[in-house]
Amino acid sequence: MDQVLGSSTRDFLDPPVPGGHGLTTSERAAVDHSARIAGWGSDLEPSRRPGVPYDKAPELGVEVLYPPIPAQDAPFTIHKSTEHGKLPPVFGTSCPPRGLSGKLRDIGYRFSEGRMARWLTLLVADRVDMIEGIISDLGHLHVPNIPREMGLATELRYNRDEFVRKSAIAAGIVVGIAVIWSLSRRT
């Protein structure tokens, strides 16, 4: 299987269709771009549209909301929305809740999806999780290479002037704050 790294898009297509004004009734009736646009009008008929009709089974009732599907074993606490009638049979096991962030998530999931408290608590838990991640890294004697994780090398490669300008401004602000703080301590 070919794997071309660093390839870019070629110049491949025809020029755009000009517009620039609202179509009149006769223009609308006569419009046909099929000569210049591949596939134009091919799904014009509703029967060609997969989403028509939108509701493919309007007669269904509530008994099929939770069909009998064998349940996956839960290796740790799976947070369930309070708006679910039961725990769905299949779920992700990506990241078990941990530490303080996990406790906050436990709290967040006590609220329904209609409550701002639920979502804000989960967002706060995410930030706490980030700090716990750094502590965990250091605990394993691993200093995270944050500039690399942020992909900042690409700024130097593709946006050098702007990156240097922003870095200089940031450095200036830091130095300025340090000077003010130093002077205020002396006085």
């Binding site: 004004h21 099929v64 769905p88």
Partner: protein
Amino acid sequence: MLAMTYRGPYRVRVVDKPVPEIEHPRDAIVRVTRACICGSDLHLYHGLVPDTRVGHTFGHEFVGVVEEVGPAVRNLKAGDRVLVPFNIFCGECYFCRKTLFSNCHNANPNATAAGGIYGYSHTTGGYDGGQAEYVRVPYADTGPYVIPADIDDDNAALCTDAYPTGYQAAEMAQIKKGDSVLIFGAGPIGLFAARSAWFFGAGRVMIVDEYDYRLEFARRFAQCETCNFRELKDPVWHFKKETDWLGWDSVIDAVGCEARGSALQRATGIRPFKLQGGSAVALSWAIDAVRKGGVVSIIGVYGPVFNMVKIGDAMNKGITMRMNQASIGRYLPRCIEHIQQGHINPKDVITHRFPLEEIHEAYHMMSSKLDGMVKPMVIPRAA
């Protein structure tokens, strides 16, 4: 195996993780051969989606080869080349039977409003995603689609989300022959929506964005008109004027929660405050730009709390608003037919390719719109 992991806002790291195992009889394990970074992955990357945990592997656009199947999976076998729709769905529930696969009720314990999605936080089920060498595929007897021999991996990867999503956005816009269609966002979804709008018989298509390189790309890929709203003093006035004051028949919001163009929306929806589910500038402009009785189609992603949008104007204008996460399985067969008939070549939107080990650079470049990036593809070493 190598896998991308989230470390906090704007930070990702490639680490060694255990190869996933079968956890349910309907699971499969897929070796990833191609994965893409989606524009909506940036919402995770920017720390905007609640319950995005450190260590989570993103990636909901991937294709690969089946390595192993659970005992209940009869329609796949090891060695099958599959594309995996980004929705995880059971195929049996109330919503799946209506083919609203993105709304499946049995794949996401964490929320009822959202369905299960690969690599998209615990708010969509807590499943690891495909920006890795291997991935667990739940409900493998309903989701994965064996890739036809005449569809290559690059095109197949675009069929897992971006292309059918753009197609659905255009379909939801209820386009009739000769209709004028305005699309906010010249990212891959907007590009595919524009291209698909022609399939539905549009008479006129225009894409709006703030990046000239993306608009140039849109003119060539979608053969449509373009507009840079940064050059306009009053964008809504301009959109109306463009239609000789009628308004657009259909408007598609392919931007979602990180829209620019209003300091108030950004301040209250993104930073420093998160008082609404993102910045709803594009949606508000869509309501303004559509004609009375027209259709607004929302495919851009917003957060799970309320947004400031012009619902009063929407009511007064008699607008139809249609929206949903794309149900890939519903649209995939027709989208693949378009590829086979030569109407579209989705992989033309891929501008950059990265080895998985350098995915941190891909994320930063996509987030900062560097080097003319439109769509990055990631290739694991096990491909």
